[in-house]
């Protein structure tokens, strides 16, 4: 734990005024990164983080006058908020000069033997170093152990420098769209609590309708079916950021599109208010822009739910990764004739497998299942989508 103290900007300075916090509590800060703006008697300037870690506690509010060398914030290890820090009184405008030093924890935690590099990497990747086991000399957790955890491969299988290396065809730098994909989806994989629900939908009417309304894609119908279902099940139409869940009145459906640069998910705004035909037109425009690498920030933001359709590639079912900060995603498999049991008879009907992946931190299983049933009903009663 490191304290951020009010610096002395000039020899005569007695107190400094907090002008702005550039970081919020709970945010990761790097040593040397500006975290707040302070006003002395003669100048304002940015105060840099004295250490890398999580800004666990802000001790002085904006406007507070704090004596030099008094602490204004606490930077702690990892993602865990320091218990000690939460007991410290916050300095407000009313009490401009009093700060207590944070009390030391009375129960010392078991010391983790880890290299500094491993600790830094663990922090960068949001990994709790306490759950790792070390493979270094004396059981020390090394950066390789952390990287192994990042790759979610058992640490014991990680290649040491003595391990065999397969011949390399090429190495590609993780950048651009690939990097964005890796960062976004990797973040979800580490933080969300995903639950997977699958359900079959009879696509007989959908196929008939599609043949009649030629030119409208299955995806467009699916977007409409989902958007309609979200009107009734607004809890699914939510995002989660930190410890805040936001539920939206707008229903904006992101659709995963494959491009040569990688995966993008442009957004059909207000999909519930559009017809399948309008949705289809939007989709065509967005796909064309995606292929030409011309998608704008407006095209790519504001989504409240995502659909990924791999039906065109013969996929039956798959569990996509939730598109953060959204809390759910629907994966659609191919539409194909499948055996359909009715009483004692079996017939063949077109059907599709739907897979809903949702974040259990936001939604429980039954409401999610009900939502999926609603999507199924909408798809099976395709005429109602028009």
């Amino acid at each position: 734990m490191t304290e951020v103290v009010m610096p002395r900007l000039d020899p005569g300075m007695q107190t400094g005024k907090i002008v702005q916090w550039l970081k919020k509590e709970g945010e990761l800060v790097q040593r040397g990164e500006p975290i707040l703006v302070v006003e002395g008697e003669k100048t304002t300037f940015e105060v840099e983080a004295p250490d890398t870690g999580v800004l666990t506690k802000i001790l002085a509010e904006i406007g507070a006058d704090v004596p030099v060398t008094q602490p204004v914030a606490v930077i702690g290890e990892g993602g865990v908020r320091s218990h000690a820090a939460t007991t410290v009184e916050t300095v407000g405008k009313a009490k401009p000069t009093i700060t207590e030093r944070p009390a030391r924890s009375t129960t010392p935690r078991e010391r983790v033997v880890a290299s500094p590099a491993a600790r830094r990497l663990a922090l960068e990747h949001g990994i709790n170093i306490r759950v790792l086991s070390g493979t270094g000399p004396g059981g020390r957790i090394t950066q390789e152990d952390v990287l192994a955890a990042v790759r979610q491969v058992p640490a014991s299988k990680q290649g040491s420098s003595k391990a065999r290396q397969p011949n390399v065809l090429r190495k590609t730098k993780l950048e651009g769209v690939r990097k964005a994909v890796a960062e976004r989806l990797g973040f979800t994989a580490r933080t969300a609590v995903p639950v997977i629900l699958t359900m079959e939908a009879d696509a007989t009417k959908l196929v008939t309708l599609k043949n009649k309304e030629s030119g409208i894609s299955f995806t467009a119908f699916a977007v409409k079916a989902v958007a309609k279902a979200l009107e009734k099940h607004s809890a699914i139409n939510s995002t989660i950021e930190g410890d805040e869940i936001t539920t939206y009145s707008d229903i904006n459906i992101a659709v995963a599109i494959n491009t040569e640069q990688g995966l993008v998910a442009p957004v059909i705004q207000h999909a519930n208010r559009k017809s399948p035909k309008e949705i289809n037109a939007d989709l065509e425009t967005l796909t064309e822009k995606a292929k030409q690498n011309r998608l704008t920030v407006e095209d790519l933001t504001g989504g409240t739910f995502t659909i990924s359709n791999l039906g065109a590639h013969d996929i039956e079912t798959f569990a996509p990764v939730i598109n953060p900060p959204q809390c759910a995603i629907l994966g659609l498999g191919r539409i194909a004739y499948k055996p359909f049991v009715l009483g004692e008879g079996v017939s063949a009907r077109p059907a599709t497998m739907m897979t809903l992946v949702f974040d259990h931190r936001v939604v429980d299983g039954v409401p999610a299942a009900r939502f999926l049933q609603e999507v199924k009903r909408n798809l099976e009663d395709a005429e109602s989508l028009l």
Binding site: S115, R120, Q143, S161
Partner: protein, 327 residues
């Protein structure tokens, strides 16, 4: 570049000769450097070529040699003085540490002392405890002195020329066991700036920083480590003062592991200083403790087998690396 093989001693001799031809103010003084051609033959033939005015044999008085060099430098000459063994530097210490290193500072820049004090250490030559010591870190406590530690013939020549061009006092510490080693040296004029380390070998898994003789040992160690599939980067500091910390830190950020090899006493030595400096700026990049391979804290044994056991070598460096990369 036209390269040829030269010994470390001959490369140094070339540097001296070229600088004496370039600048008539460059003069040599020291014990046995003239008539006897120098104990290590670094000054061979220079008395004949430049005459006794510029190549001065001195009495056996290191204090006088150093003091005369300071005086010569103060009045505009470029003395290159030789102290036969580094072990004798304590006799020169007042002239070096109290006079030469301080005058420019204390006179507000009105005086300068552009002298070079050449010396050598003979660890590994069975010269005993009073003629084998390598104590460069003593001079880390003397700001104002530059300390140069050439490890190859190429660097020896380029660094000595830079030392002679330097406007501040330079302690130029040669290595006795390296005098007869050979290496490629360009025929063309070149110099090597003081304060710039050299990555002698690229690697990814561990950084080995070597000084003087231990650069060669580090390179041998790197070769052995390669057979174990450990890729070692070898850095030659070349100058201890100023120390090129940036090059070392850049390497450590890549490899996360650091071993420092030097022929001095481990406690308070080169490795201690580099280790502390790296920890200050690159702590978060270290994946293992920094290890030092240096000499034990005892006087140097005269017995040849004991001396060999006492000295750093490639195997000791390999063992140190193994202990921090082994899983």
């Amino acid at each position: 570049l036209r390269l040829r093989e030269l010994t470390y001693a001959d490369a140094l001799r070339e540097a001296l000769r070229e600088e004496m031809l370039r600048d008539p103010n460059v003069i040599l003084l020291g014990e046995e450097i003239g008539v006897f051609d120098g104990v290590y033959r670094v000054t061979r033939g220079l008395l004949d070529e430049f005459g006794p005015e510029r190549v001065r044999d001195t009495p056996i008085s290191e204090a006088a040699i150093a003091g005369a060099a300071v005086g010569l430098a103060l009045v505009g000459m470029k003395p290159v003085a030789e102290i036969m063994y580094m072990d004798f530097l304590p006799i020169c210490m007042d002239q070096l540490a109290t006079q030469a290193a301080k005058m420019r500072f204390m006179s507000g820049g009105q005086l300068k002392v552009p002298m070079v004090l050449r010396t050598q250490y003979s660890l590994g030559r069975q010269h005993g405890a009073q003629h084998s010591q390598f104590t460069p870190s003593w001079f880390l406590q003397v700001p104002g002195l530059k300390v140069v530690l050439p490890a190859t013939p190429h660097d020896a020549k380029g660094l000595l020329k830079s030392a002679i061009h330097e406007q501040n006092p330079v302690l130029f510490i040669e290595c006795g066991v390296l005098y007869r080693t050979k290496g490629s040296v360009p025929e063309e004029e070149y110099t090597i700036p003081l304060g710039k380390a050299d990555v002698k070998r690229k690697g990814d898994d561990v950084t080995i920083v070597g000084a003087s003789r231990c650069v060669g040992e580090s390179l041998s160690a790197a070769k052995k480590l390669e057979e174990e599939n450990v890729s070692a980067e070898v850095i030659d500091i070349r100058t201890l003062q100023p120390l090129d910390l940036d090059t070392i830190v850049e390497s450590v950020k890549k490899t996360s592991r650091l071993v420092i090899a030097s022929d001095d006493i481990k406690t308070g030595g080169i490795g201690a200083e580099i280790s502390a400096a790296v920890t200050e700026v690159a702590f978060d990049y270290l994946d293992a403790p920094i290890l030092r391979i240096a000499c034990p804290d005892t006087p140097i044994p005269f017995s040849p087998p004991l001396e060999q056991m006492y000295m750093p070598n490639a195997d000791k460096i390999v063992q140190a690396v193994d202990s921090i990369v082994a899983r």
